[in-house]
């Protein structure tokens, strides 16, 4: 059972409890603020005041990140089954048209994340620009999926609702219009 894909209701329940757990610890659930901490650790606070803050007060969140990385390692190496990631067959067909390989048990497509992409400036640029948009957008909006969609909406915050609608507007534009152009 644990080797198969975990059902959405189990995953949703645990993610909700994790957020509540961090609130109980007197903290908040939000992953993108770690990017700001990392920038500060890199010494960027000397040049840009936005990074001149006490990142040590955010160390707990970096520990959460470290735990999450270990969790990813354990889940992939010791808790996985080759039949994982059974997405909609229609999705697989659509992806094939864009030259993206079917999952067949893999979490990530080779065409975008395999090591052979290091020879493709185009794919490297796609990953870099995607990351850039994620970093810039989440800091501009003041949070990402965890900070706004889960923490913010759970606390019935209107600003978070605006941000989450924005996430989906951007995501739909990318998935339906830009991605097919970029990968064609």
């Amino acid at each position: 059972m644990i080797f198969q894909t975990w059902p959405w209701y189990v995953s949703g329940l645990i993610i909700g409890l994790i957020m509540l757990c961090l609130i109980y610890f007197g903290k908040t659930f939000g992953m993108s603020s770690n990017l700001r901490s990392l920038c500060s650790i890199a010494g960027l606070g000397k040049k840009v005041s936005f990074f001149d803050f006490d990142w040590k007060a955010q160390r707990w969140n970096l520990v959460v990140v470290l735990g999450a990385m270990l969790g990813g390692f354990v889940a992939v190496n010791f808790m996985s089954d080759p039949s994982n990631v059974s997405i909609n067959p229609q999705t697989i067909e659509q992806l094939a048209e864009m030259g993206i390989d079917a999952p067949n048990g893999k979490l990530m497509p080779q065409a975008l994340f395999g090591t052979e992409i290091l020879q493709s400036p185009k794919i490297i640029a796609i990953l870099l620009i995607g990351g850039l948009l994620i970093g810039f957008g989440s800091r501009y909006a003041g949070g990402c999926t965890s900070g706004h969609a889960i923490s913010g909406l759970s606390n019935l915050q209107i600003p978070s609702l605006k941000a989450v609608i924005g996430f989906f507007v951007g995501g739909l534009i990318m998935a339906h219009f830009l991605l097919p152009l970029l990968l064609s």
Partner: protein, 138 residues
């Protein structure tokens, strides 16, 4: 030490859950934006439902935190431009590389080394925001 350990455990569970429910998978994010599966919507909705109930309980029963202090959850700053524009930019990136900040770290932990390129981009994006912050509408 015990203090730090609890964050490690919470993160560890988070990493396992997101990986095992495939929320870290590029495929799942693409499928979600194509409306071809309920899976991701189910995960997000249940997490919010549990969160709403939990936070209401905390507020109504005045539940204290682990140190016995009252729990205060700060409201998000008021505003519009930053949420709409920032949100849309984030969404474009999310659907392009199929991961948000949590999964970026989880995938690197899981051994997907090329995700380091995404992380580098995300740090660059965060830096750019810090640089331009005062010139942007919020």
């Amino acid at each position: 030490m015990k203090n730090i350990l609890k964050y490690l455990v919470v993160g560890f569970i988070f990493g396992i859950v997101l990986t095992k429910s495939e929320a870290v998978s590029w495929y799942r994010i693409y499928e979600m934006f194509q409306f071809q599966s309920f899976h991701m919507y189910g995960i997000i909705s249940v997490a919010i439902l549990v969160g709403v109930i939990g936070i209401q309980l905390i507020k109504r029963k005045n539940i204290k935190d682990i140190k016995g202090e009252p729990i205060v959850i700060e409201d998000k700053e008021k505003g519009s431009a930053r949420y709409w524009i920032g949100g849309i930019l984030f969404g474009l990136g999310w659907a392009l590389v199929g991961s948000c900040p949590g999964p970026i770290f989880i995938l690197i932990g899981a051994g997907f080394w090329t995700v380091f390129i995404v992380l580098f981009g995300a740090l660059l994006g965060t830096y750019l925001y810090g640089l331009l912050k005062n010139k942007l509408p919020h």
